[in-house]
Amino acid sequence: MLNQWLLDLAQYFAAQDWSIGLHESIYAYALIETTHVLTLMLFLGMLIVIDLRMLGLIFRDVSAADLAARLDKPMIIGFVVMVITGFILYYAIPVRTTQSIWFRIKVVLLIAAGVNAWLFRKRMQASIHTWARDASPPAHIRRGAIRSLVFWTGVIFTGRAIAYDWYDCHKPLPEFLQWAAGCIDPSAAE
């Protein structure tokens, strides 16, 4: 049911002139994907610096709260550009992407990373006054930072893996993978 609805939406996108134009363009798609990769340096770069501080590995002499607050703005700018370019990349190749197991894992990891970031921020704000200047933050904050690094590394891994056709729907796949990838119309994903 959900898979059918997602495929219908993808096919609706795929039929639009802008989607076809982007998919067939020589430079536009490449420029958008390059921008998407460059935001890795901005968004994830800032996020990694904050998480490493929360783990007490770098900037131990700087208040963790101050560092997170100062790097927040460029990180959010990077995130917004990354989401916009990411959606455009999906829009350019919607049918294959919708039926990609890697894309689906990536979306799940993105949601997990988002929930973790929300909880992390909430817990940090609740207790920051007790450890802001500590070289090494408390264990629950360190665990949150590790989860963040694991989720975002997973997002990079699965994002890159979308380009590979190892588990594409037109290949012989176990039933579970076919279901998880949402393989309804294998020919549409080739």
Binding site: A30, L38, M41, L44, V49, V62, P74, F157, R160, Y164
Partner: protein, 158 residues
């Protein structure tokens, strides 16, 4: 200097056998390459935006430069190691790829710039440098590493 003999050797090396035979290993190394790029990007941007007076202005410049140095060095090392492995899989194709050479030249410029110009120039007391010099160092650095990352992605399209 023609590097064709080196690429011919690389194309038939043990590394190439490994990277060509195991597509999964190649993909995993490629993903580590991207993670290293993110770490390098973070270190470069934090340090350079501080040099420009845009970010972390209330943190001493010397401290920011010191704290980002080790992460940069490790990320660069990981990028080069994973990059050599990836290159071995398609060595001959890369030798004739114009964008690959743009990336290699930008990378060489970046490495020389960091270790022979930027670090000696900033030295122990970067605050004493004129602001215009600090800004020029930051802009050159960001432009170079931006070119390395962008041309790297463009290799796949050309």
């Amino acid at each position: 200097m023609d590097l064709l003999p080196f690429f011919t050797w690389l194309d038939t090396s043990l590394l190439a056998d490994l990277s060509k035979a195991y597509g999964g290993v190649f993909a995993v190394v490629q993903m580590f390459h991207l993670v290293s790029l993110a770490v390098l990007g973070g270190m470069v941007l934090v340090a350079d935006l501080r040099l420009l007076g845009v970010l972390l202005t209330d943190v001493p410049l010397t401290l920011v430069l010191r704290e980002t140095r080790r992460g940069f060095d490790l990320a660069l090392l990981a990028l080069v190691i994973s990059g050599v492995f990836m290159s071995s899989a398609v060595a001959m194709k890369l030798y004739y790829n114009q964008m690959y050479w743009v990336k290699m030249i930008a990378l060489l410029v970046g490495v020389l710039f960091v270790y022979f110009i930027r670090r000696p120039l900033l030295g122990e007391t970067p605050e004493q440098l004129r602001p215009v010099t600090r800004h020029l160092i930051a802009l050159s650095s960001m432009t170079t590493w931006f070119t390395v990352a962008a041309s790297g992605r463009w290799i796949g399209f050309s």
